[in-house]
Amino acid sequence: MRLFAALATLLLVAGFATGASAHAALVSVDPASGSILKTAPKAVELRFNETVTPGAIRLIDGAGRARDDARIEAAGETISVVMPPDLPQGTAVVSYRVISQDGHPVAGSVIFSVGAPTATKPPTSTDAGLSALIWLARIGLYLGLFVGVGGVFFARWIAWSMTGMTVPRMALLIGIPSAIVSLGVLGLDLLGLPPAALVTAAPWKVAFATSAGPALLVAVASMLLAIMALRSAWYARAFAMIAFIGVGLSLAMTGHAATAPPEMLTRPAIFFHGLGVAFWIGALAPLAALVSKPATAALPVVNRFSRMAVLAVGMLALTGLGLAIVQLERPSALIDTRYGAILSIKLGLAVLLLALAALNRFRLTSALARDEKAAPALRRSILLECAIALGIFALVAGWRFTPPPRTIVPETPLAIHIHTDKAMFQVLVSPGKAGANDFVLQLMTGEGTLLGAKEVTLILSLPERGIEPMAQAASLGPDGYWHVRKVELPFAGRWHVRIDALVTDFEQITLEDDLELAP
């Protein structure tokens, strides 16, 4: 127990140290995508909702040539792509691939035309083969961690016997190469390189620098320890325990759930969720082998496991529910986003798994105690549980490709950025057309940290139409930004936006700018 407490503390500290949110989203682009400019811009500026690391950023100019002389300048959440001076007329494409805090790549492209549009096409960036490999490697990794490490833990701490270790051993032998492949393909994905580039150092270096690098290292170490714990040696039990805890640690170190705010809650939640899965799923294969043996040998183990499994399942359900609420934000996202759809199916399968577990616990285990004929039924039920668990792994591995609803930014809102030495205000207006608009005011200090304010007022006017300043109080949302909903802007045109942010009782920061509202 003391070890657990120490690890939880470590996790908390890690959570604090890595700072804010995850899974980056593009907030604004200057010049706006699709714009037609008289002269070539000096730079294309991409602003994200969090600090990002540039991965592969490419420029294709109006003549259709890929250019390698665009300079990339990254500063916090902004990436500037400085254009070469001789940019020809026509449509240019900047395709970008950046790495979010959660270690996942975010890609897209910005199109703008100098003079008149031409037919330059953005490069196709998603490679179906690579995605399949990423997905398979992840399933392999889950097998190694949950079936492999979890199985060894079961054998050493619950069953006290090495019966049925064939499957966990195989899972470990699949898991270790899968973890290594995961790292490599992540690097390929981040840099947009073909599989052949795995022989070069670049993808490995990039991937290792993300949060996924150390996490996979911990995973590999856990699986190696579990393999060593298969041998009967004095250290076997200790190694099995360390490996087991490593599963939770590795999962809590990366991914969009672990980096969701509040991290001091989500990271420990992932940690315990992972432990719960490893405990439960890891036990299935050895249990199936055990119940084929005479009941006198199997019964005490099954009973011991059943007692502890109730605890593990409760912890799984609790942490899973908490994480789902954080990631989804609203119940409707269960249906109308891909992330939510995966979660819905996962929940369905989990309920099925729970029903089977309950059947095993309350019907078949007691039947086994009475007569031995229940063994084949229990064995079948456990094998079915294994199949469902595999299905859940395959589903969860698919989350790698879908951003959680929490991070989805409403599509292309009108955005302006007002900047002085003291503060930077990012104003998002959606839908950015005449009519009712929602405003999101992101207030930052000059250094780019969140600016704390007591009150924020949005003042809008349209001088050309004689609309006098209208003041509206903004309310602070749970996301740390200020919101004004349903602001009636009756006409298209050049609106004047002014934001008063009361920082202390005696100090107010006022910034203003113009905003072109579409009809």
């Binding site: 009150e455 007022t457 300043p469 003041a471 509206q472 109080a473 008063d500 009361l502 009782d505 005696f506 100090e507 107010q508 006022t510």
Partner: protein, 180 residues
């Protein structure tokens, strides 16, 4: 926050009045009576409060003391209690041979009630140290709290902006003159 909205609306008739009179452009704001002062000398700051917050009576006046202003002594006022908040200065100031590193940072008069239709003044004595830059304006941000609502006289124009556009609720200011 609704105060601000109401403030804008209630000020419109006053703006007409301002255009008509033109001679006293600051009549609608909380202002300092004496508009000029010499650095390195005592200054009697008289805060004129011409009206409440959108018709609501004033119940509290808080004044923030800017850096470089020391030896602050508020004048007691019948019917009001006066409080001061002390704090550290950014640097040390010489005061009759003593080094002062802390002192009054905020003065608040409260407990009274000034109806919107009356006018009153709140007074303090201050010393404008030599550290202040002559030929600039020194601002004393004021928060006027009323029975309902708050008016914040805290807007300080950017240095270069000069006359460009005066805000809705400027902080009262005094122009600093060089030592003779």
């Amino acid at each position: 926050m609704t105060t601000l909205v109401r403030l804008t609306m209630s000020k419109r008739p006053i703006l007409f009045l301002m255009a008509a009179l033109a001679a006293s452009p600051a009549a609608a704001h909380v202002t300092l009576e004496t508009k000029q002062a010499t650095v390195g000398s005592y200054y009697k700051a008289v805060f004129a409060v011409p009206h409440g917050c959108a018709g609501s009576p004033t119940v509290k006046i808080r004044v923030q003391i800017p850096e470089g202003v020391i030896a602050v002594k508020p004048m007691p006022k019948a019917g009001w209690s006066v409080d001061v908040v002390e704090g550290k200065y950014a640097t040390e100031y010489d005061y009759h041979g003593n080094k002062l590193s802390s002192g009054v940072k905020e003065v608040a008069w409260s407990g009274g009630k000034l109806p919107d239709k009356y006018y009153d003044e709140f007074v303090m004595q201050t010393l404008l140290t030599d550290a202040l830059k002559p030929n600039t304006t020194l601002y004393f941000p004021v928060v006027q709290e009323c029975e309902t609502g708050v008016s914040r006289w805290i807007e300080i124009p950017a240095e270069q902006a000069g006359h460009s556009h005066e805000g809705k609720s400027p902080a009262p200011g005094v122009k600093l003159l060089p030592k003779p």
